[in-house]
């Protein structure tokens, strides 16, 4: 097995570990990139060095390199203007909680 195929396989294995999008978007990063790195013709047109860089970058992203390096505190993550903003947003995205008519109207009128 050539080295390039090996790296492409690692990239594919890494991409397969990504969770499904919580919300359906016009394009799925996981699906599009899986198709790209499973395309043998496309992979063969990339140099080994660049393919390694693609893998290294993906690995950094999966391992939350930047989230851990540039740590944010509660000042931004629990903003004092609206401390529940992200909690509400995430519970809506995950489908744990759904806005009802009254809570939605309250948000429109009060802004939080």
């Amino acid at each position: 097995m050539s080295s390039k195929t090996e790296i492409a396989e690692k990239i594919v294995a890494l991409l397969k570990t990504l969770p499904k999008d919580r919300i359906q978007h016009y394009a799925s990063f996981k699906d599009v990139q899986l198709a790209r790195f499973q395309n043998k013709e496309l992979v063969s047109s990339i140099s080994e060095k660049d393919l390694k860089l693609q893998y290294a970058s993906l690995r950094d992203l999966v391992n939350d390199k930047y989230k851990n390096y540039y740590k944010l505190d509660d000042k931004l993550l629990k903003p004092k203007g609206n401390p529940e903003y992200y909690t509400t947003l995430m519970s809506n995205i995950k489908g744990e909680k759904k806005e009802n008519f009254f809570s939605a109207m309250k948000y429109v009128i009060m802004g939080k």
């Binding site: 999008d21 990063f29 390694k52 860089l53 693609q54 290294a56 930047y66 000042k75």
Partner: protein, 333 residues
């Protein structure tokens, strides 16, 4: 100023600024792989533009289905108004005195009033400047990063996506201001962004039909809602979700996008958020923030450096005693 200090640590290579450990759980190890092992051991963060330039992945042009329309005219950067256009403008002494008396007599809430000149002018200019492009004219360093290093298309919609990303970063910080002020700052900034786009579509891109401009503005508004939601989700979850949001919005979902470029942009965004996080409400509310250029590295601050910066801010604002300089925004956080 915090931004300059924070970026200065990177620019001047003062590594003592590093204070946090980057020890991570490397879940995906590479065997017998020198390049990957090299990256594994790296604890340094490189400047986004340098990181992006490491890759020489062949560029496969994305089919945008239409040739981007280029501007045929250039409007003033902010406006025709002499006060807004002249950074050294000084109001005459007697006018200033009358203004101070009026502010004191009517107890005008200056934090509310300041949202106009700060969010709708200074921060609007910051957002617009980053991706601004005119054919045959020199680009700013950040614009070079987006169009030459990341190889994004030079189109009006792309400029909007870049401005939108910077708007979102500022709005994350604005949410952390007291609610009535933060909301006001956000509103002023987004209103100005959209009124500027409307004007540029009509006068620079020469779109004559108001109906078509309105249609585009509605599309851009839909993109705004989607992008803000995706970036917020990325901020609260992990880097890969954030990277996917950047890929969909800034990289137009390009199937052949370079992962190194996406990583560089993510590093750029996270570093800006870090600087915003370390800035006090008062500094931010007074328009002291400027985006760090992509060729610079932001190094995390130590506790001592943070404390020293806060003292500096307190000393700076202690001398602000005029009625127009009053503020309830915190100098501590």
């Amino acid at each position: 100023m915090l931004v300059r200090n924070a970026s200065k640590y990177g620019a001047s290579g003062l590594r003592y600024a590093r204070s946090i450990s980057t020890a991570q759980s490397w879940k995906f190890e590479a065997r017998n792989n020198t390049i990957l092992n090299k990256f594994k051991d790296i604890e340094e963060i490189e400047a986004p533009s340098k990181l992006a330039q490491e890759s020489s992945l062949p560029v496969i042009e994305q089919d945008l289905k239409t040739k981007p329309r280029q501007p045929s005219k250039k409007l003033p950067f902010l406006s025709d108004n002499k006060i807004e256009n002249d950074p050294n403008y000084q109001m005459s002494g007697w006018k200033q005195k009358i203004g101070q008396v009026l502010i004191k007599a009517f107890s005008i809430d200056m934090d509310k009033s300041r949202a106009g000149p700060v969010a709708a002018s200074i921060y609007f200019g910051e957002c617009k400047r980053q991706g601004l492009y005119y054919p045959n004219e020199p680009m700013s360093d950040t614009a070079k990063f987006f169009y030459e290093t990341l190889k994004l298309p030079k189109s009006f919609s792309q400029q909007y996506q870049i401005a939108l990303l910077h708007y979102w970063m500022l709005s994350v910080r604005m949410r952390a201001l007291p609610h009535k002020y933060g909301k006001n700052y956000q509103q002023k900034l987004i209103d100005r962004l959209f009124s500027d786009m409307e004007l540029r579509m009509s006068q620079e891109l020469k779109i004559n039909s108001n109906r078509i401009i309105e249609g585009y503005l509605k599309d851009y508004h839909t993109q705004l809602i989607g992008a803000v939601l995706s970036y917020d989700e990325g901020l609260m979850t992990d880097d890969i979700t954030f990277a996917a949001a950047l890929w969909r919005n800034v990289f137009n979902g390009n199937p052949n996008a370079d992962m190194r470029h996406i990583e560089a942009l993510l590093g750029y965004v996270r570093s800006q958020l870090y600087v915003l996080n370390k800035m006090t409400d008062r500094e931010f509310g007074f328009g002291k923030f400027a985006f760090v250029a992509p060729d610079q590295v932001v190094q995390p601050l130590t506790k001592a450096q943070e404390a020293a910066l806060k003292e500096k801010v307190k000393a700076e604002f202690a001398g602000h005693n005029l009625p127009s300089q009053r503020s309830v925004l915190s100098v501590d956080e």
